[in-house]
């Protein structure tokens, strides 16, 4: 199983019936592919829709129905549309149960940096800062390392997305949470030992007595 699939499958297991879920672009988008058919969740697209469905069949796309990247989507029965003030009212007001976002760095305190690399082109934060500040539960879905460097760092040196710590980080190697503000290794990817994860993780991780493997 490739890294992205591991991450998306594991994140999908966090969704509960009735959850209102916002998926960011990239790996988070893949999560929708692994939600069991009998699990009823609502996907929000922050450009103004609850009830996002899959990519429409050939010839069924409508130019006025797209995701936040401008790509055609479908709307499921029971969908609702609204303006951006309402969309971000839902996000900032804590009505989104889970947001899944990509990350550049998450630090030992759970702080996320995912919108800016100083010195590089800054495309803009879009809705990321509101999502991290406002969603009930923030899950970061990202590769554990990039170019051989751990993305789970002692302290973010990239600009933060929010002062609010995230709730869960799911990588291709590990699941990490932040109980009491301290990065804690909850699970390892199938076939990996705790020591192997620690060896490629910059941040210090608390290790509970039992660290099971992910079930995917």
């Amino acid at each position: 199983m490739d890294a992205q699939t591991i991450i998306a499958r594991r994140v999908a297991k966090e969704l509960r019936p009735g959850n209102l879920v916002n998926l960011g672009i990239g790996i988070p988008t893949l999560v929708a592919n692994y939600v069991p058919a009998d699990l009823k969740v609502f996907f929000q697209s922050e450009n103004g829709l609850i009830g996002t469905g899959p990519i429409p069949e050939q010839g069924m796309a409508h130019p006025l129905l797209t995701d936040a990247g401008g790509r055609p989507i479908s709307a499921l029965p029971g969908a609702a549309t609204f303006d951006s003030a309402m969309s971000f009212g839902l996000i900032r007001g804590g009505h989104v149960d889970i947001t899944v976002l990509g990350g550049l760095q998450v630090d030992a305190g759970g702080h996320l940096a995912n919108w800016m690399i100083p010195g590089k082109m800054v495309p803009g934060m879009g809705g990321a800062m509101d999502l991290v500040s406002g969603a009930k539960r923030v899950i970061v879905a990202m590769q554990h390392a990039a170019k051989g460097k751990s993305k789970i760092v002692a302290r973010c040196n990239l600009p933060l997305t929010s002062a609010r710590p995230v709730d869960l980080v799911v990588t291709d190697l590990a699941v990490i949470a932040f109980p009491g503000g301290k990065a804690t290794l909850l699970e390892t990817a199938p076939g990996l030992t705790v020591a192997e994860v620690l060896a490629v993780t910059e941040a210090e991780l608390a290790i509970p007595d039992a660290v099971p493997e992910m079930t995917l």
């Binding site: 951006s84 082109m121 800062m129 406002g134 609010r164």
Partner: protein
């Protein structure tokens, strides 16, 4: 509400005007007005728009011949021309969180001086802003945003200027229709009064100054 041609509508917009344009990645943008802004070579525009769309689409068209001098938005990542002009300091770009962007416009349209948001606290976004505590929690004071012109795209417009929107093309249009001195609207369909039921009107007619007629 007055019916005008796209040409007449855009002729009212002077060079250097501050314009809000509805749409999200070009979806729900009044393309006919953008085309006319290009044709009339309006310049030095202060653009307030969620994003820079893509080259040749929506507000993206305004970056082809550098008609924008400044932009307030949330994301320009999919328009290389806008990025080049930003990096080349031909335009100044103020990138702000999307929820803050829409609330600032709403405040401008609703007569509020601003709102207190938790978004951006403890990040670079708080630079230069007042931080205000309420019940021990810190918020940023984000001030109201208005424009000279709002360019709005609706799905249905009736003869009285009542507007409704379709699917994800609603986005920033309804808030912008309240936050500018002059509101110019294009619609996919112009319909008789009564076709849009009162409960389905999103932007009431009195908010609309000019509706671009068919043809």
């Amino acid at each position: 509400m007055k019916a005008v041609s796209a040409e007449e509508a855009v002729a009212m917009i002077p060079n250097g005007a501050r314009i809000m344009v509805g749409g999200f990645m070009g979806v729900g943008t009044p393309e006919r007005l953008l085309d006319e802004l290009v044709r009339q070579k309006k310049s030095g525009l202060a653009l307030i728009s969620n994003d820079a769309a893509t080259p040749g689409k929506g507000v993206g068209k305004l970056f082809e011949d550098a008609q924008v001098s400044s932009m307030i938005g949330t994301h320009i990542g999919l328009n290389p021309k806008a990025q080049q002009q930003m990096l080349g300091k031909q335009i100044t770009v103020d990138l702000i969180p999307q929820g803050t962007f829409v609330e600032r416009i709403r405040a401008g349209g609703c007569g509020l001086g601003g709102v207190l948001t938790p978004t951006g606290v403890g990040t670079l976004v708080e630079e230069g802003k007042r931080k205000i505590e309420v019940d021990g929690k810190p918020y940023l004071l984000e001030t109201a945003l208005r424009a000279d012109f709002a360019l709005v795209h609706a799905f249905l417009a009736d003869y009285a200027g009542n507007l409704s929107y379709a699917l994800t093309a609603r986005n920033f249009n309804p808030v912008m229709a309240m936050a500018a001195d002059t509101v110019i609207v294009t619609a996919e369909h112009i319909v008789p009064v009564g076709v849009i039921a009162p409960d389905h009107v999103v932007t009431p007619g009195p908010l609309v100054d000019y509706l671009v007629a068919n043809g």
